[in-house]
């Protein structure tokens, strides 16, 4: 279980290959949800529980739900999956082969150009488990959006508000 974060990042890349090989968008959306969950796990392993929650709530629970409804609206009768079409399957296998070669290259020894040893545990320990820290970085960073980053907040809020009007006018073909 030492390399669990590395395995999660490899499965993250495999999920990306899964929707990048362009099956029917129903299966692509499913693969993106799986990759989003694994990305949340990777972020949380570095101690960022707030940002992992943001991924699940805002990204998967907000944007992917809207995508799911739109895909359900614009889909076809026989969706093609990874096994039903030879183009999709070969793209997926080429990507998978590339990832396997990269992992084998990474494990084949120490490289002079990187200079980091993989068996060092400083990247794999979870921060904040000792109970001695007084500041959670991601919570205080997210809270500083409202104090130091007030102009970010104002611009982002205004942009979201304007994009509603943009969406309405574009859908009405008045661009």
């Amino acid at each position: 279980m030492m390399y669990v974060v590395f395995i999660m990042s490899v499965l993250y890349v495999v999920g990306f290959i899964g929707f990048s090989s362009k099956p029917s968008p129903v299966y692509g959306g499913m693969s993106l949800v799986v990759s989003g969950g694994l990305g949340c796990g990777i972020v949380m392993s570095s101690g960022g529980s707030f940002l992992g929650l943001v991924v699940f709530l805002v990204y998967l629970g907000g944007m992917m739900v809207v995508f799911g409804y739109t895909i359900a609206m614009a889909t076809e009768e026989y969706p093609e999956t990874w096994g039903s079409n030879v183009v999709v399957l070969s793209a997926f296998l080429v990507g998978l082969l590339m990832e396997v070669f990269m992992v084998m290259w990474l494990f084949s020894g120490e490289h002079e150009l990187v200079g980091f040893y993989f068996s060092g545990l400083e990247g794999l320990m979870v921060l904040g488990e000792g109970g001695f820290e007084y500041v959670r970085e991601d919570y205080s960073g997210g809270a500083s959006l409202y104090s130091y980053g007030f102009w970010f907040l104002a611009m982002a809020g205004w942009m979201l508000f304007v994009s509603i009007f943009i969406t309405i006018e574009v859908t009405r073909k008045r661009y």
Binding site: F6, F19, G28, T70, L106, G142
Partner: protein
Amino acid sequence: MPYIYINIILAFVISLIGTLIYRSHLISSLLCLEGMILSLFTLNALLSLNINFALSTIVPLILLVFAACEAAVGLALLIIISNTYGLDYVQNLNLLQC
């Protein structure tokens, strides 16, 4: 730790290639665009947490807001195309208008 960064940057490049190559559906390219945003978010969040610079955790949050607006506009264009042509096949888009 840098090996995890390599995997996430690789995921960005893979979904970038997926955005640029069209197959039958237009919404698959929008889905690959969302994948690009997800990999950028993960990379930004990991970097902010690992250099212990708490103020830069604003960056992934603002990135997600911009990504939501972009997805909204992209889906609105997809809706017009689907209203005109019935499906979002890329081969239907030969008039240079929605």
